[in-house]
Amino acid sequence: MAADFPDDELVARTVAGESAAFEELVRRHLGSTFGLARRLTGTESEAEDVTQEVFTRLWLKAPAWRPGAARLTTWLYRVTANLAVDAWRRRGPAAVELDPEDPAVGTVAAAEEALEADQEQARLGAAVAALPERQRTAVTLTYTSGLSNAEAAAVMEVSVKAFEALLVRAKRELRRRLADGGAPEVSRTGGAGAGGDSA
């Protein structure tokens, strides 16, 4: 049964032509890949494009996979984050789809029509969306993908200390914005005056 195999084995079986192995990889990782892409791009349509591209690359590059060299999820999340950030840069956050049903990407305008609790969540979602790019990626990997600091640092190809510094700066900025209560200002570079984004 494909469901019993580890990722490395499924990749090898995918290369060998077992369609069930690729289907199992999709079943296992589609949700987390799309979830990360959705949070990082801000739009469902772009997240779908990113997700399809990630699995296309997985399919095409599977023959080069070296079992044991890294976790497949690290590679999947890294490619997802890179593609999503590229999409964000190309389009800019101004065109983010506004879904009032989704507090994670809600805006202040949407939140004004919601209950108070939803307003708070909407402001937090908007504040996260307004973080500088790498801080936003760090927060999203932690809270959407549920990665440990070490795992997320590997995805972002930075040291654990550098990743934790991104988290510290991100949360400091989130607290400041939530305390201010104002709408975050976003820019194409993802910067919101949060004091830098380097890791």
Partner: protein, 139 residues
């Protein structure tokens, strides 16, 4: 450790002190005993943690995406593609050309005297990389 140090650790490691390293946790627990402000920061960190988890819940997969992804092998049949990945395919497709090129490279290296005593010889992996190129982003 002062309150600001404690805040940085809360932001970096999260508010669950059980997940911290022993030494830092013990120092933090002593600070919490003495500092009402530290206790307030810890409570606030738990609140932000909970709110971030809710705000950033993974989005549900839209209908149709799974089927579209499952069509990837059909849309991109590997057998008809040029040998972009994998040593096996590269050797199979480009072995002859690679052998000629490798001979040329080796001849150049020997001719230039780079393998004379005292010099670092080229690693075999370097020659291979010269001939076939380096792998991309897969480990």
């Amino acid at each position: 450790m002062n309150v600001e140090d404690f805040q940085d650790l809360l932001d970096a490691y999260g508010p669950d002190l059980n997940a911290w390293q022993d030494g830092e946790r013990e120092v933090a627990e002593r600070l919490l005993e003495d500092s009402p402000e530290a206790r307030r920061r810890l409570a606030s960190a738990w609140e932000l943690e909970a709110r971030l988890h809710v705000a950033l819940l993974p989005a549900p997969v839209p209908p149709g995406l799974r089927e579209a992804v499952l069509q990837v092998p059909r849309r991109h049949p590997r057998a008809s593609r040029p040998p972009a990945w994998g040593w096996g395919m590269r050797l199979a497709w480009g072995g002859s050309f690679g052998a000629v090129l490798a001979s040329g490279v080796l001849g150049f290296v020997l001719g230039a005297g780079l393998l004379s005593p005292g010099d670092d010889p080229l690693e075999s992996v370097d020659v291979v990389a010269l001939v076939y190129g380096a792998e991309e982003d897969l480990p």
